[in-house]
């Protein structure tokens, strides 16, 4: 590297500009990731934590234990996470898509309504989680009150104390949080379609449903792919919402991989097992993440 100020080659200068952020991320993300991998191959728990001389490498024992031990919750946590993610994304996407179609029309109040729906996405998830926890309560919970007064429920139920309904509750809360993200991304996609295309479709006698499936959806496929893959990644790693609403309970019914990894490390102090569980989560996300990057790589700036 030349050291003469502005005579630095453009290439080196570009790298130089990126270096501080890169080094920062290496220290606070890259290095901990490697440490986490090493930790997952050791036997660090509450007994060996303070005694490095008793720590030993155990290979992939922790991973095997997580998948085969009878008392390991990981397989259940993976299934729960898949259910949570698929259910959330399914409804978020459909509702978000519908809202995007609605707000793609110009009508009085349009930008105000659209703007306000954004806010659920910005709120600290902790607060949103507590708010929904309150709304799903047996005593004083408004959701029970609505459902009983509409005669959908015979009598109020303990949403968060029964496995299935607890899962419903966290999914409902997560849908509320995630709709704006889906809506905005699809809306951006919709604005790239020129009105002429719709006009010519109208002239050809296509009805609204045909236009939707034959024109709109194929034309915004890149946006749809982004929403679905990114949505998957963001939902699959959700931690705070579930930690606040159910803490993974009742009896692991809403335990996700992220909450389980946290519980193993910071409540049961099985640091190595927790690290292994976090790595399993990472691997799943990485596969989907690479898929996402490939799709944007094909049609975007990189």
């Amino acid at each position: 590297m030349k050291k003469t100020g502005h005579k630095l080659s453009a290439a080196n200068l570009g790298l130089l500009f990126s270096l501080p952020a890169l080094i920062y991320m290496m220290i606070f993300i890259g290095y901990p990731m490697i440490q986490n991998l090493i930790l997952s191959l050791k036997n660090v728990d509450v007994y060996t934590f303070a005694r490095p001389e008793n720590q030993a490498f155990v290979g992939i024992d922790n991973y095997i234990a997580l998948f085969s031990n009878a008392n390991s919750v990981l397989p259940k946590a993976i299934i729960n996470t898949v259910i949570f993610t698929v259910a959330s994304i399914f409804f978020q996407f459909i509702i978000g898509f519908g809202l995007a179609l609605l707000f793609n029309n110009k009508f009085p109040g349009c930008s105000f309504f659209r703007g306000v729906t954004m806010i659920s996405w910005l709120l600290p998830v902790t607060v949103a989680g507590l708010l929904f926890k309150f709304m799903f309560q047996l005593n004083g919970g408004i959701i029970n009150q609505f459902l009983t007064s509409l005669h959908i429920l015979e009598e109020p139920i303990e949403w968060l104390l029964e496995g299935r309904t607890a899962m419903v509750a966290i999914v409902v809360a997560n849908i509320w949080i995630g709709i704006p993200f889906n809506m905005m991304l699809i809306l951006t996609g919709l604005t790239t379609i020129s009105p002429e295309i719709y006009e010519s479709a109208g002239l050809d006698g296509a009805n609204k449903l045909q236009t939707l499936f034959m024109i709109t959806i194929p034309m915004i496929k890149p946006a749809i792919m982004s929403v679905l893959t990114l949505g998957f990644v963001y939902t699959f790693k959700v931690f705070d919402l579930v930690w606040v609403m159910t803490k993974g309970g009742p009896v692991n019914a809403t335990e996700l991989v992220s909450t389980y990894a946290y519980r193993l490390s910071f409540e049961e102090f099985k640091f190595s097992e927790g690290a292994a569980a976090a790595n399993v989560l990472f691997l799943i996300l990485l596969v989907v993440g690479i898929f996402y990057i490939k799709t944007i790589d094909d049609n975007e700036v990189m």
Binding site: H6, A10, A11, L13, G14, L15, L16, L19, A21, L22, Y24, M25, F28, I29, M33, L102, F103, N105, F107, G109, C110, F113, G115, V116, T117, M118, S120, L122, L123, P124, V125, T126, V127, L130, L131, F132, F134, G140, Q145, W176, I179, F181, M184, L185, T188, G189, P195, P222, A223, S226, Y234, K237, F239, D240, S265, A278, F282, L286, I293, V301
Partner: protein
């Protein structure tokens, strides 16, 4: 395309209905904070406070409560994280937008991937690291960790922003005798200001909303960020919902203010950061 008035009216009505459903949880938070405990547990509970009281807010804002301390801690942590994230992201995104160098694509890819990492992946190692240098229960621990949430996002949206600025501006600056760095500071930074605001806003919102780093690194109650202190408050006072909701409203107030004043920026940031990547 001409739309009939009737069509327009139905759009407004649908829009308004969605608005009501969407905003209801927030309305409910406010209403609950203004009710008495008695009214909250009344069957059926009234849809607005009949017996309006500011007691819950007064309680949360009093000297003895943790709310204001948590608020202050969160401001320090979120501002610190925002400064680090923005200061590091601006040059990085400029370098990645303007210069073609070996490994550029790989670096962009790394930033994209870090955006998708679960916090639990680095949590234990960070905890050990901060414990070693005695940073637990110190503002620096969550500041340093929260900045990693903002950096990838900021780099990605600022890069698209710098790409959208015409290259001729750099060239012109160079003809005027500015070096690369001077051109960057004098010409690019002022033009990129809206992009920088978006990046800073998102870094702040991410740091403000963090729970996992806060509850792990800050075990001392007086050092907790507000998300962690409201979480602990609910553990302690299970059914004091009016106080909890008042606490919640105080906790979301900075984000709501940011949202009101910077809505335009936020929308552009959300879409640029995710779709264009």
């Amino acid at each position: 395309m001409k739309k009939s008035k009737k069509n327009m009216l139905s759009l407004i009505i649908i829009g308004a209905c969605i608005f009501v459903v969407f905003i209801f949880p927030l309305y409910w938070m406010l209403v609950t904070a203004l009710k008495t405990q008695l009214e909250i547990f009344q069957i059926p509970t009234p849809l607005w406070p009949r017996d309006l009281t500011f007691e819950a807010f007064e309680k949360q804002l009093s000297q003895s409560s943790d709310t204001l301390q948590g608020f202050k801690n969160s401001i320090i942590i979120a501002v610190g994280a925002t400064v680090i994230s923005t200061v590091l992201s601006i040059p990085a995104s400029y370098g990645l937008a303007r210069f073609n160098f070996k490994g550029r694509k790989l670096i962009i890819l790394l930033f994209l991937i870090t955006q998708m990492l679960p916090s639990t992946l680095v949590l234990t190692a960070l905890y050990v690291m901060f414990a070693k240098v005695k940073l637990l229960n110190n503002y620096w621990a969550p500041i340093l960790a929260d900045a990693t949430l903002g950096i990838p996002f900021s780099v990605i949206i600022l890069r698209t922003y710098f790409i959208s600025i015409p290259k001729e501006l750099d060239e012109a600056a160079k003809i005027d005798g500015c070096g690369h760095i001077k051109a960057f500071i004098k010409i690019m930074l002022p033009i990129a200001k809206p992009g920088i605001v978006v990046a800073a806003v998102f870094s702040f919102v991410y740091a403000w909303g963090d729970l996992i780093y806060g509850i792990t690194f800050m075990t001392n109650p007086t050092m907790r960020p507000i998300t962690s202190s409201i979480y602990n408050y609910v553990q302690q006072y299970q059914t004091l919902w009016n106080s909890t909701m008042a606490f919640g409203i105080i906790a979301i107030s900075p984000v709501v203010l940011i949202f009101i004043f910077m809505q335009k920026y936020i929308v552009s940031g959300l879409t640029n950061g995710a779709v264009k990547a």
